[in-house]
């Protein structure tokens, strides 16, 4: 990415035209991985050569839910868990748009789990970027459906008793056409994945494993953001095309990353249009 300059030759941040600079500084804590994901997304927007006027971004509630407020696209900050449902309306209302849902694990998989599986089943044309930090961070560190077994959180003060979701597996089984997982460390690969998915019609899911230094790491005594990055470095394994059922994440276990699913299926809009024209023909 080249250095950008204004007319008066001042150096400006290379992302400036993609971000709402009037809202910076952002709310994320030091060591958080959401910023990395946003950077990767901004780079991917450029890389994919997509018309920026035709991209819009929808977020739910939570730390990652604030992303919509920092990206300079048509952006919507909606209610808890309903980002995908809201985005479904946008993409059906105007099929020329590419909708990106950028939200967290609690928002998309816990309260929004139903919309997630149904949008995947319908193959609604959207890219879902799910930042998974294993915890509800905005509300102060509650247990999430992604919290690994026996990890601590404020509402599981004696260790988490529920096994976590394997997000790629559930996306795959519900019918997503593109499924990938990266950590906040894999910036280049994450960017490439996002750029690829932006140009892919259908329901794409990219899971971004991200450190939460403030809550998850602190409560579980895992060090700061940098320690988590080191952990990702040492413990992630790239396995493209791996069967999604083998992608469980345990407490401080190996993390398998890569692109797992990339297939073709008619999108909802295509099926609907086909059906409409069939009816018209019959009439």
């Amino acid at each position: 990415m080249a250095t950008l300059k204004t007319k008066s030759n001042e150096l400006i941040h290379p992302m400036e035209h993609l971000l709402r600079m009037d809202r910076i500084p952002h709310i994320w804590c030091p060591g958080c991985g959401i910023g990395t994901a946003v950077t990767a997304f901004a780079s991917a927007l450029e890389k994919s050569k997509i018309d920026l006027d035709k991209v819009c971004i929808v977020s739910g509630i939570g730390c990652t839910g604030r992303v919509a407020g920092y990206v300079k696209l048509d952006s919507f900050h909606t209610t808890h868990g309903r980002a995908i449902a809201f985005a479904t309306g946008i993409t059906l209302g105007n099929p020329d748009l590419k909708v990106v849902v950028f939200s967290g694990d609690g928002d998309l998989i816990s309260i929004g789990g139903n919309h997630f599986i149904h949008a995947a089943r319908r193959n609604i044309n959207m890219l879902v970027i799910c930042v998974n930090n294993f915890i509800y961070a905005m509300t102060g560190g509650q247990v999430a459906p992604t919290t690994p077994l026996s990890a601590y959180a404020t509402t599981s003060p004696f260790g988490c008793v529920e096994p976590p979701f394997n997000i790629p597996y559930i996306a795959d089984s519900s019918g997503a056409v593109y499924v990938a997982r990266w950590t906040a460390l894999h910036i280049r690969r994450l960017t490439n994945s996002m750029a690829e998915a932006l140009n892919k019609p259908g329901f794409s899911v990219i899971e971004v494993i991200s450190p939460c230094a403030m809550y998850y790491s602190r409560i579980n005594k895992l060090g700061d953001g940098l320690d988590m990055m080191k952990f990702y470095h040492d413990n992630s394994e790239i396995k493209h095309g791996e069967d999604t059922k083998n992608l469980d994440i345990g407490f401080q276990t190996k993390i398998t990353v890569g692109k797992f699913v990339d297939r073709e299926r008619p999108t909802y809009t295509e099926s609907y249009k086909k059906w409409l024209s069939e009816i018209k023909r019959k009439k």
């Binding site: 809202r23 919509a68 407020g69 309903r82 309306g89 105007n94």
Partner: protein
């Protein structure tokens, strides 16, 4: 603006309330429906889907009512006019997103075909138990517009009106129908397109980089833009400033939320419509809305025959409530009689606005057939004997 001729079935038809509602929506330019099937509102979804190919409308059956309204709000921001249809249980699920609709000032129409509640209640039986819910059901403060049709013809007319009001005031509008009105078949006259007035969306016309999504214009309503036109705007359900950026303090809360009330309250006289029958000389006025107002009109005739001067005030707009008119009437009449298919909701408002100047009698139709005139008449006959205005709502037990 006049309606587009596309898809308007000008002429006289025999339609059910639900069908008339869809025709109204199509006439109003609605091209998007997201819903979830529920008795007794299904025919709205069915008919819309049947009519979709002709007018190239988009239909989606979502996984639940929560997502149905969320998707509707999303679609409206792409420039479509949209509608969703549901009944009590579905409306309860939509509550959170009615709040979002209010906060994002998104025009949309929600049809609630009321059935007997609470909970599952009796799905195929009429009720009016969601009236207060329409006004108060979502958390936080907001004002909403709710219309209550009493016939298929009104279902048609009010649906168009609902779209117009929602576009003009940028607010969700609820059509509070009931199962009786939704399923009864009657003559519906659909006028030619050029006679149908359509409120166009208030679009922003200034320079792109100057657009502020919540900056109020001279009419106090912020203009809109569609997604995908390069405005790069941001909107949020959080308390926000003109730019749509969240600021969470009491100053912004006041700045953001108080105008949400004012934008409806200052236009109440333009919004509120009601139909009065023989109130000039009335001693007793029946205040009603929806299906029971059909009975009210019959009751007036009978009562007048037996020498009691009875009039009727039928509320077309239930929310905002016609406070002024009730207060005026209260000073002239002896009593109000309020028939409702619930256990007392709008009657509380009538009591509030009559300031102790008139007796307020409640006749519950929750346990009666809609066309029961006798109980209404007997209530009128009893209240006429009351010597003075009592404090509190009167319910005569039959």
């Amino acid at each position: 603006m006049k309606a587009s001729t596309k898809g308007i079935l000008t002429g006289t038809h025999n339609l059910s309330g639900n069908e008339a509602c869809v025709e109204g929506a199509i006439a109003a330019g609605c091209r998007f429906l997201s819903g979830y099937p529920i008795q007794p509102a299904i025919e709205i979804m069915q008919r819309f889907l049947e009519r979709a190919p002709e007018v190239e409308a988009t239909y989606v059956q979502m996984e639940d009512e929560i997502s149905a309204l969320a998707a509707l709000l999303g679609a409206v921001w792409t420039g479509k006019k949209g509608i969703t249809a549901t009944s009590g249980p579905g409306l309860s699920l939509m509550m959170e997103h009615i709040g979002l609709g209010v906060m994002l000032e998104t025009p949309c129409v929600i049809v609630d075909v009321q059935r007997v509640g609470p909970s599952i209640g009796i799905p195929n039986s009429p009720g009016q138990g969601d009236m207060m819910q329409a006004r108060w059901g979502s958390h936080g403060d907001y004002e909403i517009i709710a219309l209550s049709p009493s016939s298929p013809q009104e279902m048609f007319d009010f649906t168009i009106k609902a779209f117009n009001l929602s576009e003009r005031y940028r607010t969700p509008v609820a059509i509070m129908a009931d199962e009786y009105v939704a399923h009864i078949r009657e003559k519906v006259v659909i006028p030619p397109a050029k006679e149908i007035k359509i409120e166009p969306r208030n679009y922003y016309k200034g320079p792109k980089d100057k657009y502020l999504p919540f900056k109020r214009d001279k009419n106090f309503i912020p203009p809109m833009v569609d997604i995908g036109n390069g405005y790069k705007f941001h909107v949020t359900g959080l308390t926000h400033d003109d730019q749509g950026y969240p600021i969470m303090n009491e100053e912004c809360q006041e700045y953001n939320v108080h105008p949400l009330m004012w934008k409806i309250r200052r236009y109440v006289d333009d919004i509120i419509e009601f139909q009065e029958t023989k109130t000039e000389d009335a001693e007793v006025v029946i205040v009603s809305y929806g299906a029971p107002s059909r009975t009210a009109l019959k009751a007036i005739k009978q009562a007048r025959k037996s020498g009691i001067k009875v009039g009727s005030l039928k509320l077309d707009t239930v929310w905002p409530f016609p406070e002024k008119r009730i207060t005026e009437l209260a000073k002239k009449v002896k009593a109000f009689v309020v028939p409702e298919m619930n256990y007392g909701q709008i009657v509380l408002e009538v009591e509030r606005c009559s300031y102790g100047n008139a007796n307020v009698v409640f006749v519950s139709y929750a346990e009666k057939e809609v066309d029961n005139i006798d109980d209404l008449l007997s209530a009128i006959k009893q209240v006429i004997k009351e010597k003075e205005a009592r404090k509190g709502i009167i319910e005569y037990h039959t």
